[in-house]
């Protein structure tokens, strides 16, 4: 056996082991691996010289060479494990605060989303969700609701009238209340239903007035439905809407189609009722109109006003959305502007 070759082999193996130890990164280790164990590496080149030895020496040299090579490889493997472990715990290449790439997201119209939310609350209480015509007859919009032609209450609702022939007088409905009568005609009593929808007032637009907006009408007619029940259902509705229990109060108010009629206030959430700018120092914020269905309306709907009583309410949806998000101008809702809608 060539002693010279053996010595060279041992020396090359020792150098390779040292190089593995000296590598400070996986990259350096990989370079060292190529330099020593690669196809043109020092160790590999020596091993290839096995062919120059006489055949009788080849066995012993081969054995030695394999031992040396395995040792070197083990050393490299061990070093790689060490370096990989160090890298896993010690190298930061991810910034958790950089935003991730996101697919484009759509946006629901905040008013319509609120409408759906209200629908869900009343669905959960067993109310039907109905739709009615927006182009409505004068009869359903006014007369059936106890608002005859020259009644001062018509002043409160500046009306869009349709161009029609002389035979009929149509309006763009000024409220969702006509559906009280239509629903009673269709379903009779007992009945629980809400009617979400668009309504129209011939009003000049400004930050708080729209000519086109949304209301949700509600109606519950049954035997012995009382003001107490109305208060209970309204309180339950507002609790779901606000996510917490809120104090409510009724104030007498006049709507021709209910008797008695009320405006419903809830305790101002900003000041807790002690009075602030938001509630105009009263501690209360008006949120909806309601009342006990007028016998005239029950009869117009073909329901026996002696046997049945009921309550009705109407709530403006835009105002709820504006309160929830502190939106300053009602005209945004019809702007079609992505800069507005992208926030929801």
């Amino acid at each position: 056996m060539s002693e010279e070759l053996t010595a060279a082999l041992e020396q090359a193996a020792a150098q390779a082991r040292d190089a593995a130890l000296a590598a400070r990164s996986l990259n350096e280790l990989e370079e060292a691996r190529t330099a020593h164990l690669g196809r043109k590496g020092a160790l590999t080149t020596l091993l290839r010289r096995i062919g120059t030895l006489p055949p009788e020496e080849r066995g012993a040299f081969g054995k030695l060479a394999n031992e040396q090579k395995r040792e070197v490889e083990e050393r490299f493997a061990a070093r790689e494990k060490e370096l990989a472990a160090a890298r896993l715990h010690g190298v930061f290449d991810f910034d958790p605060t950089t935003p991730g790439p996101r697919p484009a997201r759509g946006h629901e119209h905040p008013v319509l989303a609120m409408l759906r939310e209200i629908e869900d609350v009343f669905l959960s209480m067993g109310f039907l969700v109905l739709a009615g015509p927006e182009v409505e007859t004068e009869y359903y919009n006014f007369e059936a609701l106890n608002i005859p032609r020259h009644h001062p209450a018509r002043d409160l609702q500046d009306t869009f009238w349709m161009e029609t022939g002389a035979e009929c007088r149509w309006v763009l409905r000024t409220h969702t209340s006509p559906m009280q009568v239509r629903a009673l005609e269709r379903f009779g009593a007992p009945l629980r239903a809400i009617v979400p929808g668009r309504v129209y007032r011939n009003e000049t637009l400004d930050a708080t007035h729209e000519a086109t907006f949304h209301q949700v009408e509600g109606l519950m007619v049954d035997r012995e439905v009382s003001v107490a029940h109305m208060k209970g259902v309204m309180a339950a509705f507002l609790e779901r809407l606000f996510g917490q229990k809120v104090a409510i109060r009724l104030r007498p108010h006049y709507f021709p189609f209910v008797e008695p009629g009320f405006e419903l206030d809830f305790a101002c959430a900003f000041c807790g009722g002690s009075g602030c700018a938001f509630c105009k120092r009263t501690g209360w914020i008006e949120i909806l109109g309601c009342g006990m269905v007028h016998p005239h309306v029950l009869r117009a709907g073909g329901v026996d006003a002696e046997e049945f009583t009921g309550f009705a309410f109407g709530v403006g949806v835009e105002r709820l959305v504006m309160m929830r998000h502190s939106i300053e101008d009602i005209r945004h809702f019809h702007s079609g502007s992505l800069r507005f809608f992208e926030q929801f």
Binding site: R116, L156, C168, A228, H229, P252, T309, S337, F341
Partner: protein, 806 residues
């Protein structure tokens, strides 16, 4: 409407109750009080002064240099008011006084003359809007005395929300609110006393009611004296606090009576009434009258007029005429207090577009009995205000209208059922009695007669009585209770459910933003989208703007408008709207059809380039079609697309468009926006739109989802690319391939490409074919044979195959 707390004190003893407490109780039981204001709490620097001297300013005709005695000292004050004169008693703000708006008064020089204070108008003191003239106080007030100590200056006012009393003719004066407070607090009511000595009889003028259906009663009172004098301070202060400007005695008393008992009265100058008669008649055609506000008005034919023997002198219940009213020289007046028909005065007022304080009351249907109370109260107030004025002992009374008596029963059981709480019979009786109702018991029930001032319109049925009892009891004391209602499952209507599913999909995964446009579409928006066309539109008779009369038949023009508003700011816009359109019914008299539509627009500002760097047109439309296919999938109503033949909406591209079908029913259209529309808006990229009727779509039954067990053997996939004419539609190609290769189980589109300017009518298609057998793994020979069959079928259709093997 403002209520003076001191005035309310004339009717009830409010004791030590605070304004806030009273406002709260009225709000909870009668009408919304919107605010509380205290007037007249001025500092010591605002004092009573006497104008000793008043000269014209040497350098300004409109200004006066006054010397004012403010008690112990005199001040030189420059004053710009036209009504200032020597001898007047006036409020004077001294230097340092705080004026309305928090301004502190400083010594100034006005056109070279020093001014050491200010003679105040209402506006400067925050008492009202009148800044035309200074406030002139009654004589006899001591100079130098703090102004706020003068009788009547300080008062607390409650602001009533007029909307909450539209149904209550009795609440348009202080007395009515006094009655409410008496009922709320259980106090005695002192009604406003009238001159009881007055007798109905004759007078210097006759009254003839020629239109009794418009005027049920007319009373005329005759007074003589210094009627244009200034009213006494107490009267003037009450008017001022309530927002009316004191003018002349006869007019001030009229306003006072109106604010007190709610009955409007109107004084005429006796000299101006000709012919010894007052006629109440209907307006003839083309009659005109110059009213108190100086406007010459054409009177609506048939309106209720007050006339003398020759001409109209007032519009009944609305406004007086200028030439017959009180002026500075009036010494003899005829005071009208009448009962006018509510419907007719309202019609007249809206025909004239004129609202007045009198109208606001008459249109609520005042008690006819107030007509006579009006003259009696006028006489009493006038006597107290000006003892020297002579009041005739007889007044003329014409007409005998009274409110039809309203008698109702009130069943405690009905009341308890409706309110949800029982209320004792005594409490019911006492509440009603204090409100003026006459109550008798009849067994379990109460018989209730409404007072005449509630009987004209307001109280009509038992439920109205329940309201009276309920509100005095206090609605806030009724507990909250949930109804015990039968358990019935409910679900949304099909259209609503479909709408929600679409919004969830489009606004979620597909990245659309939901918008909402006005249903009345502007003409210029329609014009930009190719014009309104020949279809009939429903129109608004009184639109907000003349150019926005039409109710939309499609949501697309609105979406195009919204795309245009956004596309200048962003690279890509995806919008959707789910709303209604309004289609006139085929038969007159029937309400229009209002189907629910789903519409969407997808726009890109610039044309994107493909991987081969060629301009790839029509890609936006393809993406939008994919979104619409997803909608069909979501609703489980697969959609089919056919080339649009006729009846294409004007805003759609003639060839890059399609009709959308669900089953056999056409439900809408999809397409790229017409190049003319896009060019008109200056768009450089592409915009595609679709619109489908959800109402029609959900009318078809949904396709049930069919389940198939997952395949057990692996598929083999291979792509084929070929150039094929558009006359070989994709769907036909797929069907043919399936027939040609029986193991072909799935075809996916990898790419479709028609290069710009390539007018050959051909496009390049790459399809991924999936072969699979249910019972074995396919080997290479089998797949090769299938592929060859597929390719040869394509070649037979005239397709030019590309890639390996040709």
């Amino acid at each position: 409407m403002r209520l003076s707390l001191s005035w309310l004190g004339d009717f009830v003893d409010l004791g030590g109750r605070s304004a806030a407490e009273i406002a709260e109780d009225l709000t909870l039981r009668t009408a919304l009080i919107e605010g509380i204001e205290t007037h007249g709490e001025f500092s010591d620097d605002v004092v009573v002064g006497k104008v000793v001297e008043c000269r014209r300013h040497p350098r300004a005709d409109r200004l006066a240099c006054c010397v004012v005695d403010v008690g112990g000292e005199t001040l030189e004050v420059v004053c710009g008011a036209p009504n200032v004169a020597a001898g007047q008693t006036v409020p004077v703000a001294k230097v340092g006084a705080e004026l309305a708006g928090g301004v502190r008064l400083k010594k100034t020089k006005i056109r070279g003359v020093a001014s050491h204070g200010m003679i105040c108008s209402e506006q400067e003191l925050g008492l009202g809007d009148d800044h035309e003239g200074i406030i002139v106080l009654e004589e006899g007030l001591e100079a130098g005395r703090p102004f706020r100590e003068c009788p009547g200056v300080v008062d607390t006012l409650l602001e009533i929300d007029n909307k909450s009393v539209t149904h209550r003719p009795d609440l348009w004066g202080h007395e009515g609110f006094g009655r409410e407070l008496a009922a709320i607090y259980g106090l005695e009511l002192r009604v406003a006393p009238g001159e009881e000595g007055l007798r109905a009889g004759g007078g210097p003028l006759a009254v003839r009611i020629e239109a009794p259906e418009l005027c049920g009663r007319y009373c005329a009172l005759f007074v003589r004296g210094r009627l244009a004098a200034a009213s006494p301070g107490w009267l003037r202060w009450r008017l001022r606090h309530c927002g009316l400007r004191p003018i002349w005695l006869a007019v001030d008393v009229s306003n006072y009576v109106m604010l007190e008992i709610g009955q409007p009265t109107h004084p005429f100058d006796r000299r101006r009434l000709r012919g010894g008669v007052i006629r109440v008649r209907r307006a003839a055609r083309d009659e005109r009258l110059v009213t108190l506000d100086g406007e010459e008005r054409a009177l609506p034919e048939g309106a209720c007029l007050i006339a003398d023997a020759e001409r109209a002198v007032a519009i009944g219940g609305v406004i007086g005429g200028r030439d017959s009213g009180i002026d500075g020289s009036t010494e003899e007046a005829v005071v009208e207090s009448a009962s006018f028909d509510a419907v007719s005065v309202r019609a007249t007022s809206s025909a004239l577009s004129l609202r007045t304080e009198a109208l606001a009351r008459f249109e609520k249907a005042l008690d006819p009995a107030l007509a006579e109370r009006g003259v009696r109260r006028y006489a009493a107030v006038l006597r107290a205000a000006a003892p020297g004025v002579e009041i005739a002992g007889e007044f003329v009374r014409a007409g005998d209208a009274v409110a039809a008596p309203v008698e109702l029963r009130l069943r405690p059981g009905r009341l308890a059922a409706k309110l949800g709480v029982p209320i004792g019979a005594e409490a019911m009786e006492s509440s009603l009695a204090r409100l003026g109702f006459v109550v008798t018991r009849q067994g379990e029930e109460l018989r209730v007669r409404a007072p005449s001032f509630r009987a004209t319109r307001d109280i009509r049925c038992e439920d109205d009585l329940i309201e009276e009892v309920g509100r005095i009891h206090g609605y806030h004391l009724i507990p909250e209770a949930l109804p015990a209602a039968a358990c019935r499952p409910v679900r949304l209507e099909a259209v609503n459910e479909a709408w929600r599913a679409c919004v969830r999909l489009l606004c979620g995964r597909l990245g659309f933003t939901e918008v909402s446009a006005y249903p009345y579409v502007e003409d210029n928006v329609l014009e930009r989208c190719g014009g309104p066309g020949d279809e009939p539109y429903l129109c608004i008779r009184n639109p907000l703007q003349q150019g926005a009369r039409r109710l939309r038949r499609s949501q697309v023009p609105g979406l195009i408008e919204f795309v245009d508003r956004n596309i200048k700011a962003v690279e890509e816009v995806r919008l959707c709207e789910c709303g209604r359109v309004y289609l006139p019914a085929a038969h007159g008299g029937e309400l229009p059809d209002e189907p629910a539509l789903l519409s969407a627009a997808w726009g890109e500002r610039t044309l994107r380039r493909g991987p081969d760097d060629a301009r790839r047109e029509g890609q936006v439309l393809r993406r939008l079609k994919g979104a619409l296919e997803e909608v069909g999938e979501e609703l489980r109503r697969p959609l089919r697309f056919e080339r649009l033949a006729a009846a294409a909406p004007r805003w759609l591209h003639p060839t890059r468009s399609a009709a959308v079908f669900a089953g056999a029913e056409r439900v809408g259209e999809i397409g790229q926006v017409h190049p003319d529309v896009a060019a008109g808006l200056g768009w450089r990229g592409e915009v595609a739109v679709f619109e489908i009727s959800l109402s029609n779509l959900v009318a078809a039954a949904p396709t049930p989802r069919a389940y198939e067990a997952p395949a057990r053997f692996p598929p083999v996939k291979a792509d084929v690319s070929f150039l094929a004419p558009f006359t070989l539609p994709y769907e036909e190609a797929c069907a043919g391939l399936r027939r040609a290769a029986e193991l072909l189980t799935r075809i996916d589109l990898v790419d479709e490409y028609a290069a710009a300017g390539m007018d050959s009518g051909e496009r390049s298609l790459t399809l991924r074919l999936t072969f699979r057998a249910a019972d074995r793994t396919l080997n290479d020979e089998e797949v090769g044979a299938q592929l060859r069959q597929a390719r040869s079928w394509l070649a037979a259709q005239g397709a030019e195959l590309r890639g390996e093997g040709g």
